[in-house]
Symmetry: C2
Subunit: 84 residues, 2 copies
């Protein structure tokens, strides 16, 4: 594996898991007032399209990474809609 691929995979990995601390924070506090519903909604659509793209080009890392990211963002959106 060359350096570019390693950096690309690290980028994909970190981007995918990045919202884990936000999910933990939302889960613990149930406070989402300062979060932008618009931002997380656009992000969710973006991650879903990455997922579809991953299926179309049959790239397992793209599929898995974006399923994780999409699930995390959806959780945040659900609590945001519920709690405001």
């Amino acid at each position: 594996m060359n350096t570019a691929t390693i950096i690309g995979l690290s980028a994909a990995f970190l981007s995918s898991i990045s919202m884990i601390p936000q999910v933990i924070k939302v889960y613990r506090t149930k406070k989402t007032k300062d979060l932008s519903l618009g931002a997380f909604s656009v992000l969710a659509v973006g991650l879903f399209l990455w997922f579809v793209y991953g299926i179309m080009i049959q790239a397992i890392p793209v599929i898995i990474g974006n399923v994780i990211g999409f699930s995390l963002v959806c959780y945040i959106i659900v609590i945001k809609i519920r709690n405001g």
Copy 2:
């Protein structure tokens, strides 16, 4: 341009601009209490690595998209550190 490329570019575009509503909200309210510093820090590192990856594989859309995303996330981090 085939369908997969169009979906991939749409995914990249939406992911890149997704934090614009969050930046606007932070700029207006200066409230960042519910935002996770950890989440946005991991995201910033991820986007920076995407940017480096874009340079290495010489992919202009990857470079531009992630410069935009990284800048937006850095703004949120700065206000978060300043205001708590």
